[in-house]
Symmetry: C2
Subunit: 213 residues, 2 copies
């Protein structure tokens, strides 16, 4: 069985999204800046269908996060959608016709919806019966490979608090957001972490922690 | 003129002291664990008059923080004392007869007190007229050497917010404190940081940021 791992970018003051999140601005004010380090990388651009890009100390970290990946879990806002029901003409999320995941993606939501089959191997399955069910479905889909929890903060924090995560990867960016959503608020002081590594890269430090069960 | 640098340990959720701080427990519940990585080091034990200890990746970081140091700034709680006035028989802080600083130390407080001359080159000067005055006095005492702001969170945060800090060193420990005092709450989103380095060491990551003025 593969690992369950969180992969998330955080500001130095602990925010994984900025304030005033909305359907138009799901990362909140300033939140997009958390990801600038990755947009310039060839290793990120290629699976997103973009040419060019840099190779630097972040490259092996990004390649590793894409390797051995069997399924992805995310919250509804990260898929793309407001707080209401899907409506009669629901859209297909932020990720375009050929989403960059290329594996089954499980979206936690309160609103039922038929699965969406996209180009390039990505399917979105909408799970309405909670985090345990979503993880079970993701594990089944992933087989021996890993399940990645990509966010947002609420979904990732719920899995951490429930003790269902094996590995926490934080891409720490030297940014002060001042407000927004924190990953580690409410996960509880019972969460025991062991530092696995810290990799310095341009404009970001890649931290990896093992959850001690 | 030397640099003004903050040197502080933080939990992964951003707390530099735990909850329920008191005169008896100035670091709050769990706060002492933020410093465990340093207590085992020979480089820390020697200036504290203790024998033995380890040498590891943290050693050069600790040695560097002790080098070129001309003065230290701290809040009253870090010196050692509750919120009230000093009283008729004030004690001389947490740091013993031979404090580990060996340089002039400036203590921000609301209560006047005569300077304290300790063994080993440490003097405590109590400053009641604000952070600008305290920094000016520390700079004068430091000459060409650096001024280190050692905490607590409130004092360090005030200097960051006022744009008076050149370098921010965070020793990031894989601990969830869940509550307490955060360094970066309230410093404002105008604080611009540039990552200088990240050093992985046993049980801690040493992060250094330059403040962009």
């Amino acid at each position: 069985m593969g690992k369950v791992r969180i992969q998330i970018a955080s500001s130095l003051d602990g925010f994984v999204a900025g304030p005033d999140q909305s359907v138009e601005n799901p990362l909140g004010v300033g939140g997009m800046s958390l990801h600038e380090w990755v947009f310039t990388l060839a290793a990120w651009r290629e699976p997103h269908g973009l040419e060019g890009g840099e190779v630097n100390e972040s490259t092996p970290v990004v390649e590793e996060s894409q390797a051995n990946l069997g399924a992805v879990l995310m919250g509804r806002n990260m898929f793309g959608g407001g707080p209401g029901p899907w409506g009669d003409d629901p859209w297909n999320g932020w990720w375009g016709e050929n989403p960059p995941f290329h594996v089954p993606v499980f979206v936690l939501t309160h609103h039922e919806r038929e699965p969406l089959v996209m180009d390039g191997g990505t399917t979105f399955t909408f799970v309405t019966d909670g985090i345990d069910s979503a993880l079970e479905q993701a594990r089944d889909a992933a087989g021996d490979q890993d399940v990645q929890i990509s966010g947002g903060a609420s979904v990732a924090g719920q899995y951490l608090a429930a003790g269902l995560v094996d590995e926490l990867n934080i891409n720490l960016v030297p940014l002060i957001l001042g407000a927004g959503e924190r990953l580690l608020d409410g996960v509880g002081t019972g969460l025991r972490l062991e530092q696995v590594r810290a990799i310095e890269a341009p404009g970001v430090t890649h931290l990896r922690y093992r959850v001690v069960h």
